[in-house]
Symmetry: C4
Subunit: 278 residues, 4 copies
C-alpha cells in the first residue's frame, strides 16, 4: 500500500509536469515539447521538397522515427498519469496525440503512405495546447459568444451565397461555354466562388462581352455583401463584449466604467480585481 | 355534400403535409422533396460534364423525366390544396415551382434547349422553402431592416463606384490603349471593376508605367472605400438590433439586460419568454 | 421696364424647369437630360469599340455633334437663367458642364483628340445632379461627417501603407531581382500595392522561396490591416449617426427612441415630423 | 563659463530649429529636410531603373553623396544639440538616421552593396517625424489602445489562420501533387495564404476537381473569417473611442455630448476647450 501511495505521488507530480506549466519542470517540458513539434513540422516540410528528399531522406527518416518514439512515450505518460485515461483518449487533444504518432508506424506495414503526411501536419494543432492559446479567448468568451449568436444569420448568408454562385455559375456555363474554359457547371461554380470571394485567380475568366457584364455584376454584388458578415459579427461582438462586463458582486449590476472603484448602482466598494483586462 | 366535406378534410390534411412540417408526414414530405431537389441539381451538374454526358446521357434523361413528373404532381397537388390557387401561382415560390418543370416539357417541342439548364438550376431556390431558412431571418428582421435603412446610402455608394470605374476605365483606355489589351472602353471598365473590387484576374493588367500608377491609385481607393459599405451596414445593423430588443408588455419600454427579470422602467415581472434568443 | 419684368418672370420659370424638378416641365427636362447623358456615354463607349467605329463612325459623329449642340444650348440657358452666372460657371457642376461640350469643338481645331474622350466621360458626373443623388446623403450628412472625422486617422493609415509598400517593394526588388520580373523599385512597389490590397493580378508573382515568404507575410499584414479603415469608418459613422438624431425643440436634448411621442427629458409633445427617416 | 553659456544658448536654438517646428527657421528646416528625403527616395527609385542607371549613373552617385553628406551633418547636429546624445542615438529615429547614411559610406569599403538599397529606402520612415504624423494618433491614442486591447484576440486569430493554411496546404500538396505545380508543402502553404487572403495571383491554381472543391471551401472560409479581425478592431475602437471622451475636471465624469456646456453629473461649467476635436 505504501508503494501504491508513492506511485500516486509520482503520478500527481508527473501530471503537474505534463499537463500544467506552473512548475519549472512543467515549463521545461512545455518548451521541449514545443521544440519537438516545430522540428517535426519542419521535417514534414523538408521531406516534401524533392531536392532535400533526394539527398537527406535517410536522415529525415531517422529524425521522424526519433520524434515518433518521443511522442509515443509522451502519449503513454499522458495516459498513465491522468485520472480517467479513457476521457483523455476520447478528448480532442487525445485523438490528435494518437493521430500524430500513427502514420510513422503504419508506414512500415502499408506502402505508399504519402497521404499520411496530412495527418502528421495535424501535430501543429498541439502547439495550441502547449501555448495555452485558447485560454486567452476562453477568458473573455467574446468571440465564441459572438459566433454562436450570429450562427443562424451566417447560415442563411452562406446558403444565399451558395445559391447565388450556383445560379451565376450555370448562367456563365451557358453564356461562355466550353470554348472559353467553362467546361461544365461545377467548374463554372468554382469560377463564381473564385470571383465572389474576390480571390480571382484568373485561370478562368470571362471572354465574351456578356460574360464580362455578368462577371462585373457578380463582383459588385460580392463587394457589397462582404459587408454583411462583417456587420453581423461586429454587432454580435459588441453585444457579447457588453455582456462580458464585470458585475457588482452585491447587486449583480454591470460596471460600465473600466476603472470604477464603486458600483454605480448600490455604491459597494469594488476590488481592484474587478477591472477588465481583456 | 357529405362527399364535398370529406374532400375538404382531405384538402386540409394534404395542405398540412405539403406546406407545413409540424406532422410526421409533413416532415417526411419535406425530406423527400429535399432529396429530389438535390438529386435534380446534381443531375443538372452531371449533364454538363462532357465525359458523363457522353456515357450516361440516356440514364440522366430518364432521371430528369422522372423528377419532372414528380415535381409536376407536387405542383398540381399544391394548386389543388391551397385555398386561393391563383395567389399561390402568382407568388414567388409558385413561379419558381412552375419554372422548375417547364424546361423538360419545352425540350420536346423546341430543339436546342441548352439555355433552359439555367432555369432548372433555379430549383435550388426551393431548398430555402423546404428548410424554412428565411424564417430565421424574419424572426429577427434585423438584416432586412438594416438593408432597407441603408438602401439610400448604398445607392449613392454604388452610383459613385460606377462613375469612378467609368472614368478610370476611360483613362486607362487612353493610357494603355489597344496594344495592351484595353481594346475599348467597356473592356477597360470591366478591368476597373475587376481591380476596384480587388478580384484581380490578371487577364488584363496595366503594362505602361503611367497605367500602373493609375492602377495603384485605383487599388488603394478601392481598398479604402470597401470600409464604407461595411460601416453603413454595421451601423444600421447595430441600430436595427437595438430596435429588436424585447419590450415590456405593460409600459412598452425596451428591456436592455438580456436576462432581466423585472422591467427597469415600471417594475413589472417579466416572463422567461422575454429573453432574446437571436 | 415692363418688358424686363416679363423677361424676369421667364427667367424664373426657366430656372425652375432647369434647376428644379418640382414642376411637370422640370421633371420632363430632367428625364430628357438624363436620356441625352446616357446616350452620350453609350456613344463614347461605342466609338471606342473598333468594329463599331469602322462601320458606324459617321453616324456616331453626327450623334456626337447633335448631343454637343443640345448640351451647349443647355449650358447657355443655365448661364442665362441663374442670378449670379459667374458663381454657376465657377461651381463644380458649371465646370463639368463646360468640359462636357469642349472636346467636340476642339476636335475641329486640333487633330488627334483621342485623349479628350476622357473629358467626355465626365458627363456621367452630371447624372448625380439630375438624380439629386447627393441630396440623400446631405439629408443625413452622416457619411460626410464620418469621413471628415476620420480624415486624420486615414491620412496616417495611408502614409503607413505607402511606407510599408515602399520598403517591401525595395526588399522584393533585391530578393527577386530583374530575372523574375521585378525590374525596378517602382515596379516592385506596384507589385506590393497589388498584393497588399489583395487584388493579386499575378502579372508579377514571387518565384524564389524567400520572395514567397516575404509575400506571404505582406498578404497576412494586408489581410489584417484592412480591418483598420473599416473600424475607423464604422466607429465614426456610429458617432455621426448618433449626432444626427433628432433633437427636442424645447430642451435640445437628443431623442433616442425612433418613434418617441414625448421628449424623454422635458416631456414636450413631439410632432410626427421628428421621426428620423434616414 | 560665459562662453559655455553662449554655446548653451546656441544649442537650445539649434534644438528648437531641428527638433521642433514652432519657429519660422524650424519650419524651413523641416521643409528642406522633407525635400531632401523625397529627392533621396526618388534617386533610389531612379537608380533601380536599368535605362536610367545606364545613362545617368554618375549623376545619381554624385547626388547620393551630396545627400549623404547633408544627412551626416544633420545627424551630427542632432547629436550635438540634444541633452542626452546616447538616448537619441538609441532611440527609434536615431537608429533610422544612422542607417540612412551608413550604406553610402560602406559602399566605398565593400563592393556589391546592392542589398543596402533596402536600408536607404528606410529614409522614408523619417518623413513621419518631419510631418509629425504620429502626433495625430497620439492625440487620441484610439488606434493604439484598440490594437493593444485586441492583441490577444488577434494573436489567436493569426495562430488559427497559420494552422489552417498549413493543414490545407498539406492537403492540397497531397491532392494536387507536383504535376500541378504544388511542388512541396511550403509552396502549397504559400498558395493557401494567397487564397485565404483573397489575393489570388493565379500562378498556382487547383487543376483537379477535388482540389477545386477544397479551394472553394478555403475561399468561403477566408471570406467569412475576414469579418473576425474587422469585428475585433471595430469593437475595441468603439470602446477606446468611448474612453477618450473628455472628462469633467471636477467630478472626472465622462462628458457624452460633444458640445456640452455643463457637466451632466455635477453641473460644473465646462470650457469651450472641452469639445473633442478628434
Amino acid at each position: 500500500m505504501m508503494k501504491k501511495k508513492k506511485s500516486d505521488v509520482f503520478k500527481r507530480k508527473l501530471y503537474r509536469i505534463i499537463f500544467r506549466s506552473d512548475t519549472p519542470l512543467g515549463k521545461y517540458f512545455d518548451i521541449a515539447l514545443l521544440v519537438l513539434i516545430v522540428v517535426s513540422i519542419v521535417s514534414v516540410f523538408m521531406e516534401s521538397i524533392s531536392e532535400i528528399r533526394a539527398r537527406y531522406m535517410p536522415y529525415i527518416q531517422v529524425l521522424e522515427w526519433g520524434l515518433t518514439i518521443c511522442f509515443t512515450i509522451e502519449y503513454a505518460l499522458r495516459i498513465y498519469c491522468v485520472r480517467k485515461p479513457m476521457r483523455y483518449i476520447k478528448s480532442f487533444y487525445g485523438v490528435i496525440d494518437l493521430l500524430s504518432i500513427l502514420p510513422t508506424y503504419t508506414s512500415v506495414i502499408i506502402a505508399g503512405t504519402q497521404y499520411l503526411v496530412v495527418i502528421r501536419a495535424l501535430r501543429l494543432l498541439r502547439v495550441f495546447r502547449v501555448l495555452k492559446l485558447t485560454r486567452y479567448l476562453s477568458e473573455g468568451n467574446i468571440l465564441r459568444t459572438a459566433l454562436r449568436a450570429s450562427f443562424h444569420k451566417i447560415t442563411v448568408f452562406l446558403a444565399s451565397v451558395i445559391t447565388l454562385v450556383t445560379i451565376v455559375g450555370t448562367i456563365m456555363y451557358v453564356v461562355e461555354g466550353e470554348q472559353n474554359g467553362f467546361n461544365n457547371i461545377p467548374t463554372s461554380i468554382y469560377w463564381a466562388i473564385v470571383t465572389i470571394t474576390t480571390v480571382g485567380y484568373g485561370d478562368l475568366s470571362p471572354q465574351t462581352s456578356i460574360g464580362q457584364l455578368f462577371a462585373s455584376i457578380l463582383m459588385i454584388i460580392g463587394y457589397g455583401i462582404i459587408a454583411v458578415p462583417t456587420g453581423i459579427v461586429s454587432v454580435e461582438m459588441a453585444k457579447a463584449s457588453e455582456n462580458e462586463k464585470p458585475r457588482c458582486r452585491r447587486c449583480q449590476d454591470k460596471i460600465d466604467k473600466p476603472n470604477a472603484r464603486f458600483c454605480a448602482n448600490c455604491g459597494m466598494l469594488l476590488q481592484a480585481k474587478n477591472q477588465p483586462d481583456v
